[in-house]
Symmetry: C2
Subunit: 497 residues, 2 copies
Amino acid sequence: MSIIEKTAGTTDRRLSTAQKASVVQELRGLLGTRNVLSTPYDLTLYEYDASIERGKPDIVVLPSSTEEVAAIVRLAARYQIPVVPRGAGTGLSGGAVPIQGGIVISFARMNRILEIDIPNLRAVVQPGLVNLHLSNALLPQGFYYVPDPSSQRSCTLGGNVGENAGGPHTLLYGVTTNHVTGLEIVTAEGEVIEVGGMTCDTPGYDLTGLLIGSEGTLCIVTKIIVRIVPVPESVKTMIAVFNTMDDASNTVSEIIASGVIPAALEMMDHMILQAVEADTHAGYPMDAAAVLLIEAEGLKESVTEQVEQIVAISKKHHARLIRIAANETERQLLWAGRKNAFGAVGRISPEFYVQDGVVPRTKLPYVLRRIQEICDRYDLKVGNVFHAGDGNLHPLILFDSQKPGEVERVRQAGHEILAVCAEVGGSITGEHGVGLEKQAEMALIFSDVDLHVMQQVRAAWNPNELFNPGKLFPLPGRCADIRHLSSYESKQTSRKG
Amino acid sequence: MSIIEKTAGTTDRRLSTAQKASVVQELRGLLGTRNVLSTPYDLTLYEYDASIERGKPDIVVLPSSTEEVAAIVRLAARYQIPVVPRGAGTGLSGGAVPIQGGIVISFARMNRILEIDIPNLRAVVQPGLVNLHLSNALLPQGFYYVPDPSSQRSCTLGGNVGENAGGPHTLLYGVTTNHVTGLEIVTAEGEVIEVGGMTCDTPGYDLTGLLIGSEGTLCIVTKIIVRIVPVPESVKTMIAVFNTMDDASNTVSEIIASGVIPAALEMMDHMILQAVEADTHAGYPMDAAAVLLIEAEGLKESVTEQVEQIVAISKKHHARLIRIAANETERQLLWAGRKNAFGAVGRISPEFYVQDGVVPRTKLPYVLRRIQEICDRYDLKVGNVFHAGDGNLHPLILFDSQKPGEVERVRQAGHEILAVCAEVGGSITGEHGVGLEKQAEMALIFSDVDLHVMQQVRAAWNPNELFNPGKLFPLPGRCADIRHLSSYESKQTSRKG
């Protein structure tokens, strides 16, 4: 949920009524009438994603093939209209919001699995495929696709590529970029090219790596080649309960430093535990300062050994209770608590602001103390539920926008938290992306020269800034100057994480 | 060893005597006299790398700091002189050869480990650090750096980053790009920036991923942040002996498809086995059609289980013998045979040409038959020793340049082999890079549009082509037109691989 002011975008690219009619007519010729939406009623759905950003598209199109996408891009280039790709609209940073209008390309019709190649451990999919649908198709053969954002029941692989999505299991297995070996894309000139391929590490520049996480600003992805992996033989899930955040944080550091890398290592603090337990009844202790949710997986013997090591390290750091899920039902219940945590917080606060920062994991105790100190100073309540093993924090700051000045305090506190993350050598976003939400904060971790170099890359790929304009980069003159949000309008609570 | 013709480079960038004197004087002022080499005698060493390419630098400099590197780049930009970074000169594709002259930056003095951070599993090093020296420094603490090129006793981390180096253990763990999380670089403008960092997946474009493997054409790397990992608890190494190449290849495919990913999975064919056994006496059978060298590592229970599965699959595909190294001495001996294979071939042929292609591993039986058929047709002997698990082939074509027409036949056969790799969806290089050697073959796997897009990226970073000019990209008009090598001058046998 963004509370940072941003431009509404230059409006000079907005189409006149006559231009729009002519573009719509051409698009209908290319795609058929039912695949071109242009009435205000039809467009309303496409103004949003899961952030609070809004921007009205001029036209929404639903292509069915790469060739259609290329034709749309060439047409847009001819009219100099922005083009914004959209998966399921579950993004948390405004990436799919057409802030300067133009054409939104929905990938709802390009949602097929094109090929499953078990011996080479690859699948080829269209960008509109829902993340979980891929694993569901693979499971009968004993395989799955690893990256698992909390929104995996609805988010698409194309969106995952755009934002370089993560999830709880990225600790052991890496994020989207570690699981995609090739892409078919449409360039700003409307050319179709393939980058990477079925094999790893093709020669020349690693354009696949460059394009993953580029938030729609460099190209439009039309096909994705992903790695698939065998389902692990054994999984054990446990919770370790602590009376202090420091003990929990130090347990995290020592587990990783010992060389045990669990499949997932999540932390929830006191405030979150209270909300989660009231909501899910998963058996989390409501009086603890912190709980670690830890999952080990692999061959059953190595899982047994990992669990022993994790238990020993947790005890050394004064875990007051360690509970291992006895069966799959208990395991699913523990995960349900974690995955519904953001929603559960909705029970105790009308609104909250989810931050997404990363710190070296040895800095967790210090940064968690600083977060508490910052929120105390602004008289705000904060809870923490996050991917501790990765050092990927998600502080949730509670607020009520009806209270005068509260939004402003939340905004300031959020910015200070990210500044602390940057100060200790961390980053301003772990997995939610920059989008419209964190353009100003890019200046916390990148120098003008850094940003200039990135902008040169964008200029090489997207010279007229027609691909997802107004995203990712700080706006001129605003880097160090985060201003007041004049019209904070959302009343809704984000349920994503 | 390249036998493809390439341009000697435009010579218009060569410095006049007066210009050179003035540049040398300025460089001495920056770096001190002893760190600027300019006599013909001093420069001779820097004409080569481990390929047969040659190119004389005008000046060689040995900076000691990032600031000095930046000053050199700014000076070179002012004079419009090429700049070519150089590690240990062990590259096999001519990457460090200054084909258009200019300044070679040797990183021999920037060879320090700057920081080892065990809890965060990171080390920060200078580019001139020898690959193996990093693991040697980490081993007492139970950690190591994974990528292990065969030249790891001499090659540098900077060179590894430039070429995105691999090695036998990249099957399980990935190549250099999977083990580097951040870089400090000098841009073409002589600015120093950091990309990536200690944490994974920083926001904005993944410039770290883009720069790794860019073969010195985009920037000069001055600092490298690498992942370090714990030494596995247990390692088992075995050989499986086969009477046909097809059986060995099908064993490889089935091992991977079964979900067992060994740490290493290497194949040697009949010709290589004869050379290796005569040289190393490691106990390889000299009459077998193919041997797989397989290593499993991890917790001891999981290694035991993996070995059982590998044995069962090998037997199913008619392995006539499976031998597990009984102790570390036997294990080291088996590896010595593999790692010295290229050298051992020097016993049976005065010269050989090592190819480096990649194919989907299910295509191995087909491609190995095609390699044999191609070499038979050209009346050439060929041996295969390669990273089978990755589908990364290294056919060694034997020849004698004294025999009229033989070089030409080798050249044609090599090109046809790469064309077969490309045809089955593979790639023209797995780990040796493009450099000067495979510029023409880039056209086998990339379209003009693909290459144009890459050139736009180069233009954004390296607008005047001062960074390692004349590398990586096909030369105009030569893509589909590989010409005769007019002066094939090398008599030496490459000992690298």
